[in-house]
Amino acid sequence: MAMTQQELVDMLSSLTLFADLTRPQLEQVAHKMTEESFPVGQRILRQGFTGTGFYVILDGEVAVRIDGRDVARLAKGDFFGEMSILLGEPPVADIVTTRQLNVLHLGGPELEGFLRDHPTVMFRMLKALAMRLRNASR
């Protein structure tokens, strides 16, 4: 699926992570991040190995798998890869596609700068992490 820039920006505006961005800012994000697709059954991040980037799901679904056990599913609007980038440690989970997946990808070294440039995205990420932490400690 190759979206036009216009379609991509429309889609981004519907994702919680980018909900506070203006149209020009969304266009910057669309320009900065690369659209990628993965077939079912593909391992995008590997537990214990070096992480390769930050991913935001546009469409499809992945399983978060720790030691072979599925601990969560992520779908449209969810993101992954940020933990190992920000901590500078290998991923603690495999991320495996369970449905054909379209994502936006940002290279690991670019994430901090990207978040600093977009404080509202950072705050949305903070909220999402707070929710994840609440769920994890329930």
Binding site: I66, A130, S137
Partner: protein, 142 residues
């Protein structure tokens, strides 16, 4: 012990959460943060209550309790209470002073204003949360 704004700034400078934030943010932080002391066994926050602030431990240590289970111990330089500030939901744990503890309390509105104005602080906070999510996940995984 009554801390001056300068004392508070010096204490906050050693806290990883505030590492690398702007001098202006640090000054605001020290000006608005209030020092509180707790005796052993005294509750600082209670599970189920809506939180109004973040706490940074300046001395002593605290126990994090979920129900009656101790799920973590925190000491000098560590912080707690951030979840309620970020998502405005009730506290998911209680925190009790394990020994005499001095904390700096930062009100939600002051913290949110600082997070908005200083991306470095937000980034530090994200890293702190990511680390906790990871630790929680490790506990779940084993």
């Amino acid at each position: 012990m009554a801390l001056t704004t300068q004392d508070k700034a010096a204490a906050l400078a050693g806290v990883p959460l505030f590492a690398g934030i702007s001098a202006e943010s640090m000054e605001r932080l020290a000006a608005v943060a209030g020092e509180q002391e707790f005796a052993p066994g005294q509750f600082i926050v209670r599970q189920g209550q809506v939180g109004t602030g973040l706490y940074v431990i300046l001395s002593g240590s605290v126990k994090v309790l979920r129900g009656s289970d101790v799920v973590a111990r925190l000491s000098k330089g560590e912080f707690f209470g951030e979840l309620s500030v970020i998502d405005q939901q009730p506290r998911n744990a209680s925190v009790e002073a394990a020994e005499s503890a001095t904390v700096l309390a930062l009100a939600s509105w002051d913290l949110l204003a600082l997070l908005e104005s200083d991306p470095k602080l937000s980034l530090n906070m994200i890293k702190g949360l990511v680390m906790r999510v990871r630790q929680a996940g490790e506990k779940l995984g084993h």
